[in-house]
Subunit: 216 residues, 2 copies
C-alpha cells in the first residue's frame, strides 16, 4: 500500500480522477476494478475519492457519455452525409475506428457492457441506436449495388462493427502504428479484403464436419 506522500503533489480535480479510473477500467474491466485500485494509482486512500466523485457508477457514466458523444458525432460529419453510400461507409468505418482508438478506455466501457443492471441496460439501448445507424448505412450501400450481394447486409454490418469493437482489446497508444494508420487499415481490409488484388484463392468451404451448434 503506497502511503501517500505528504509532501508536494498536484491537487486532483474530478477529471484527473476520471482519467485515472479510465486507465484501470481499460486494463482490468469496470466490474473487476475496485475503488481501492483507482485510489492507489492516484496515491490517495479510497475514501478520498468520494470527495471528487459521488460513486463508482458516476465514473462509468462519465466514460460512456464521452464515448457516445464521439461516436454519434461521426454520423453527423459532412462526409458521412453526402455522396455515394459506399464512400460514406468507408468514411464512417474509418472514423469509428479512429474514435474507438482515440477513446479506447471509454469505448471499451460501452463495448463490454453486458446489461446486468438497469443503468447497463440503458447503455445497451443507446448502443443499439449507433448499431442501427451504421446498419442503415451498410444497407444503403447494398441497395446501391456497391456491396457484395451473397450475404445479408445486416451480417456485414455486424461483422464490421465487431472488428472495430475488438480494437480496444489490443491497441495501446505506444505502438509503432498511429491510430489513424490502423483506422485506415481497418476500412481497407473490411471493404477491399486482405488478399492481394491479384491473388485468387480457392473459395471452397472447409469440408462439412457436422455442424454442432450447441445449446440449440
Amino acid at each position: 500500500m503506497g502511503r501517500p506522500a505528504m509532501s508536494a503533489r498536484a491537487p486532483f480535480d474530478v477529471d484527473a480522477v476520471a482519467a485515472a479510473a479510465m486507465d484501470v477500467f481499460l486494463r482490468r474491466g469496470y466490474a473487476a476494478t475496485s475503488m481501492d485500485q483507482i485510489a492507489e494509482t492516484l496515491g490517495i486512500r479510497k475514501a478520498s475519492l468520494y470527495h471528487h466523485v459521488a460513486s463508482k457508477e458516476e465514473l462509468l457514466r462519465r466514460g460512456v457519455e464521452r464515448a457516445f458523444d464521439a461516436l454519434t458525432a461521426v454520423f453527423d460529419e459532412p462526409s458521412a452525409r453526402h455522396g455515394r453510400a459506399i464512400d460514406r461507409l468507408r468514411y464512417v468505418l474509418t472514423r469509428i475506428a479512429e474514435v474507438t482508438l482515440a477513446r479506447a478506455a471509454e469505448a471499451s466501457l460501452v463495448i463490454r457492457t453486458r446489461g446486468n443492471t438497469p443503468f447497463e441496460e440503458a447503455i445497451i439501448h443507446r448502443r443499439r441506436a449507433i448499431d442501427a445507424a451504421f446498419a442503415a448505412l451498410v444497407g444503403a450501400a447494398a441497395d446501391e449495388g456497391t456491396l457484395r450481394a451473397d450475404m445479408p447486409p445486416a451480417l456485414l454490418a455486424r461483422m464490421m462493427l465487431g472488428t472495430t469493437n475488438a480494437l480496444t482489446e489490443w491497441y495501446r497508444a505506444d505502438g509503432v502504428l498511429t491510430a489513424a494508420e490502423i483506422a485506415q487499415a481497418v476500412a481497407a481490409m473490411l471493404l477491399d479484403g486482405a488478399r492481394a488484388p491479384s491473388a485468387i484463392s480457392a473459395a471452397a468451404a472447409p469440408p462439412r464436419r457436422g455442424r454442432r451448434v450447441r445449446r440449440g
Copy 2:
C-alpha cells in the same frame, strides 16, 4: 427465488451443471455471474452446486479447456497444414469462426479474460500461443505474396482474430443463419472484402489527418 420442485426431476451430473453455467456466463459474463444465479437456472440451491463442482473457478477451467482444445485442433487439421498459405489461411479462418460459434460460451470465457488473477494470466498466456500460430499463418501468406502488402501482416492477423472474437458478442444459435454460413461470410469478407467486385470506391482517407499507411 424459485423454490425447487420436490417432485420428479432428472438428477444432475457435473456436465449438466457446467452447461447451465456456460449459458449464464455467456449472457452475464463470468465475474458478474453468481453461483446463486447458476443454481436458480437448475432449480436447486446454491449450496447444492458444491456437491457437483468444487468451486466457481472449476467451471471456468472446464469451459476454457474446451475452448482451447477446439481451437488448437484447428491448426492440426490436414487442410490447415498443406497447400498454399492463402488457402490454409482461408480454411483456418473459417474453422476458427465455426468453432467460436459452436462453442460461443466457452470461447467468450477465453476472449473476455482480462488477466486479473494468476489463473486468468495463465489463460492469457495460452491464448497468446493461438494468436501466434495464426499470425504465423498470416505471415506465411504475406511472404507468399498473396496478401496485400500495404499494411503489416501482424496487424492483419490481429484485425482478423478481432473479427472472429467479436462473433460471441451477438451470435445466438437460434438465428436464421447457421454457424457454418456465418463462418463462410467471415472469411469471405476478411479476405475478399465487403465491396462488390465491380464497385470501385474512393480510397481517400478522411480529410482530417489522413496519413496513408506505409510499411511492409
